[in-house]
Amino acid sequence: MTQGVTSSGWLRRYGAPLAVGIAALVIAVLALRLANDARASLPSTEMAAARGPCLLPAEQMRRAHMDLLLHERRVAVREGIRNPQASLERCVTCHATHDAAGISLSANDPRHFCRACHDQVAVRVDCFSCHRATPAIAAADTETAR
């Protein structure tokens, strides 16, 4: 009886903080899981890495690519300073995605490298209404592709 009273007293004293702690732990674990899931759903950069180093590490590119593109487009078009290393053409060449038949996916396809993230964060870019979204093809193929 004494033991029971002591036990319920302990529960009454530490029960609430303990519950909050456990809840926080569960939430933290779940959040970590979700974050990992989100990271896992980012498009793979492995294939692109095989074609040489990107301008910046992937973590920085995810945050800075839009600023890089904005900067490059201004100096390239208006001043004529062309930097092939930082061109959109190089982006779509290294990060090309292909369907089962090995054909490069256009920006109309949700599996396109750029679309994979932009769809997730609901950002609609119109780069590809003017720019080519797939790697350049050999001159002989352009006739049929036009």
């Binding site: 487009r73 078009v77 208006r78 004529g80 300073i81 003017c130 080519r132």
Partner: protein
């Protein structure tokens, strides 16, 4: 973006600055004429060069359209596109003198004016004249208002109303933007010449730097007269004609 490591561009800028200081005597004064070669990578286009084409219409063969086809292939627009909406970055124009009956056929493309009316009327500065005299459309800023299409006295600016796919990587073009001859700026920046000039087999087209006294185009202009279309408008086009 201050943390962005870009030593290459910084060095190039320093180089450009040093060169400018060394050769400039004062605002607009230079000791020697700038060389005509392609710019070093990383250097901006400058007014030291002014790219132009001299076209000898008398040398244009009767049924030749090699220049038109070359442009179409280079930039991915289709000759004989939808009627009324057909972009013609370059086209052949035939004219006959009603008195003498003499007819002439000449290729017509953006004349790359020194004072371009298209750039004058552009409300967003999308149409602009680059420092080396090439008139371009910055499609990032173009809102598709078509003022430039209406302002051009030569009818060589077009509005693209149809969606395009499989653009050439060096020649982006898209629905809802204005477009026209770029003087093959991607080739010029790489030290080459425009696709139309390269394709011309009769030697009717000469491309070069109008600011370079040693260039072939200046040689030719010094020896025989040439005219600009609608010279009365005093637009100072970089494209000049002979044999009209």
């Amino acid at each position: 973006m201050s943390a962005r490591p870009d030593p290459g561009r910084r060095d190039a800028l320093k180089l450009a600055l040093a060169g400018g200081v060394a050769s400039a005597l004062g605002p607009g004064l230079f000791l020697v004429a700038a060389p005509a070669e392609a710019r070093a990578p990383g250097l901006a286009a400058s007014s030291a060069q002014r790219w132009g084409i001299l076209i000898d219409a008398a040398r244009c063969a009767e049924d030749c359209s090699l220049c038109v086809q070359a442009c179409s292939d280079e930039h991915g627009w289709t000759v004989g596109g939808p009627p009324g909406r057909e972009p013609q970055w370059i086209r052949t124009v035939a004219a006959t003198d009603p008195v003498s009956g003499r007819s002439v056929r000449l290729p017509l493309m953006c004349q790359h004016c020194a004072l371009p009316p298209c750039a004058d009327v552009c409300p967003t500065t999308a149409t602009f004249r680059r420092a080396d005299g090439i008139v371009l459309v910055d499609r990032h800023l173009c809102i598709g208002c078509r003022y430039c299409v209406m302002a051009c006295p030569f009818n060589v600016r077009f509005f693209l109303g149809d969606a395009v796919d499989n653009q050439r990587p060096h020649s982006p073009r898209g629905k809802g933007t204005a477009e026209g001859c770029t003087l093959c700026v991607h080739r010029v920046d790489a030290g080459g010449e425009p696709a139309c000039v390269e394709a011309c087999t009769t030697g009717a087209m000469v491309f070069g730097d109008l600011n370079d006294p040693q260039s072939a185009i200046r040689d030719s202009l010094a020896s025989l007269p040439a005219t600009r279309l609608r010279a009365d408008l005093t637009l100072g086009q970089s494209v000049q004609y002979r044999g009209l």
